[in-house]
């Protein structure tokens, strides 16, 4: 049997145990559940809310106009088809008492209601300011529990605006009155993207849309790196702890094949786990970003073509191999599972730093020293590759690929050298360098 296949199969059997697969599936399920829950909260928050309306000015000319304005508000804000807005506004009788209004709302299952106060029409006709009261039932303490109350911040100014326009119709120069109400229009934006000017779009529209599509990439890459790291380091430590490494190293098989088998199996397991996480993460992030970003970045020259996706795949593949190489080196120095946990820390830090930086900042906006540090961390490159390709930063992309290639080769070369040396079995404890380091530490200890 092919030795590499034999080793890879064994490693996969060890890595893909029912318990590890179940724990990943549970995590994915949790992500999906959270995503679905948040998504449903978001949908509730962004869907046209059903509100109650108490008309204390029954039969009044301006109260009827206010109700009609509310229907128009639903049509314009929530894209409710003409004539269907009536389904979202539940008319309630006016009991004349605040508590009774609240009880009626509970009876009807409403958490927001408005009350046009008695004498509404008379007040407007007499040019006196009047009121539309707001009533809320506070029940949900969730993340978006208060979202429905925000409808009042837009619906009342809208109704007020409609009444203003209706009032100015009767003045001698209606056009001048409308101008006086709205002298400046602010609905014409022009944004420069990659050498082109695009009309009617702002950077926030584009970044919101791009973010909704790429936000989960650094998170998923971080998870894959940490997962692969812990898989490789644990595999190495368990080989030592269970005393199987010595036997394995005396098998008639080249050390490079043993290293390759471990790398390949860890990469396969890491990718399977990473893909599972990605599915969960897509659901999770979908919950947050489902209603964000109504524009398509492709329309603004920011889409990704087939070549771009190939570059992304190459970058992720190289990053995975760099992580594997680095972890194999760290794993060579672990003696047991406790040491393995400690050894996972540097990998986790190296994966988390670029994740946070790329999520909250762009590479070009960083100071020079930080840029150099970020470039040196191999996991930065797959995390920022999508954005770099969208914005035409090809030099940075290809420099990243070259760096990752060199990094992966060096780490794998060091790993093979370690597998051929005594260090794998004896550790660093007996070497001159380790002894002098220990001696230095002891000298520095306070007596």
């Amino acid at each position: 049997m092919n030795h590499l296949l034999n080793l890879t199969k064994k490693e996969l059997r060890e890595l893909l145990t029912p318990s590890s697969v179940i724990s990943i599936l549970v995590m994915v399920f949790i992500f999906m559940m959270i995503g679905t829950m948040v998504g449903s909260e978001m949908d509730n928050a962004t869907a046209p809310p059903v509100i109650g309306l108490v008309n204390g000015d029954e039969g009044g000319e301006w109260s009827d106009f206010a109700i009609e304005s509310m229907y128009i508000f639903y049509e314009e804000t929530y894209r409710v088809p003409h004539g269907e807005a009536v389904g979202y506004i539940v008319m309630l009788e006016d009991p004349g008492d605040r508590l009774l209004i609240a009880e009626k709302m509970i009876e009807e299952g409403l958490d927001t209601a408005f009350r046009i106060v008695p004498g509404f029409t008379d007040s407007i006709n007499n040019k006196e300011r009047t009121l539309i009261e707001e009533y809320y039932i506070f029940t949900s303490t969730g993340l978006l529990g208060a979202a429905t109350s925000t409808v009042s911040s837009t619906i009342i100014p809208f109704v007020s605006g409609c009444i203003s326009l209706e009032l100015v119709k009767d003045v001698t120069d209606p056009a001048a009155a409308v101008f006086m109400l709205y002298p400046v229009e602010g609905n014409s934006s022009h944004t420069y993207i990659n050498g082109e000017i695009y009309d009617g779009v702002t950077p926030i529209d584009i970044s919101t849309s791009i973010m909704s599509q790429t936000m989960f990439v650094p998170i998923v890459i971080m998870i894959i790196i940490i997962m692969i790291g812990s898989i490789v380091i644990s595999s190495m430590s368990s080989e030592k702890e269970n005393k199987t490494l010595e036997t394995l190293l005396t098998m008639p098989v080249k050390r490079t094949t043993i290293v390759s088998g471990k790398l390949l199996a860890s990469a396969i397991a890491g990718l399977i786990f990473g893909m599972a996480y990605m599915v969960g993460m897509v659901f999770y992030m979908g919950g947050f970003t489902g209603s964000m970003g109504g524009i398509n970045p492709q329309d603004y020259g920011l889409g990704l073509g087939i070549t771009d996706w190939i570059i992304i795949a190459v970058m992720i593949f190289l990053a995975i191999f760099s992580a594997l190489g680095l972890c194999m080196i760290l794993g060579a120095f672990t003696k047991n599972s406790k040491a393995a946990q400690t050894m996972t820390l540097p990998i986790s830090v190296l994966a988390m730093i670029p994740m946070f930086v790329t999520m909250f900042s762009s590479f070009n906006s960083l100071p020079g020293v930080i840029q150099a540090i970020m470039f040196a961390i191999p996991f930065t490159h797959p995390m920022m590759v999508m954005n770099n390709l969208m914005f035409g930063e090809t030099t940075l992309v290809f420099a990243g690929i070259a760096y990752l290639l060199v990094f992966a080769l060096i780490t794998i070369f060091i790993t093979v050298r370690l597998y051929k040396s005594d260090i794998l079995l004896t550790g660093l404890g007996q070497t001159k360098a380790a002894k002098s380091a220990k001696g230095l530490l002891q000298k520095r200890k306070p007596q």
Partner: protein, 240 residues
Amino acid sequence: MMDTLVVKDVRKVYGEIEAVKGIGFSVKEGEVFGLIGPNGSGKTTTLRMISTLLKLTSGSITVCGYDVAEKADDVRKVISYLPEDAGAYKGLTGRAYLKFMAGFFAAGEEYDKMVEKGIEIADLGDRIDSKIDTYSKGMMRRLLIARAIMPSPKIAIMDEVTSGLDVVNAYEIREAIRGIAQKGVTVLLSSHNMFEVDILCDRIAMINEGRIVLTGTPAELKEQYGAPNLEEVFVRAVKG
């Protein structure tokens, strides 16, 4: 009979510690050779150097004519090393473990025969299909012995092979070692159990502080020291 193993003036230095200080011995084909000595005397280091796990600082070791420093890959084809307290992959079943190990030595029909042989030597009955982490120490040791013997090595190197086993398991394993030696396999073993060394080994070398202090058959050594058993020989040799 030709020498299967020749160790010449071998030294091993770890940093400032010289673990093995120029030892030399040879083992003939089909011979059971015992390496005995107190803890930290250099037995395991010597076995690890013979098994290609550690590099020699100086000297030479040849196994079946192959130099361990130059032809490590060829050496690994003819040896079978069973380290002290060796374990197996706990997530695998006994059968899967033997299959995995046999995969390094054979393919096709020969592979199937080797696995069957391993299962027969392990003699674990239905438990061969149980996960290894459910095995007792004795069962684990039987599986590992089966793994070591199954590929019919030219030389089997066993470090403290019966350490920690009960009387019955230790007896069965000693019988297995005797059986392979009768079939022509050279056995190099280290042990603290002087009774075991006495009844199993054709010749022994006593190692102390990285140096070989005695070599001979158990009978010769007992006669040399006028001692009734190897334990007394051992104590007198070590204490000078």
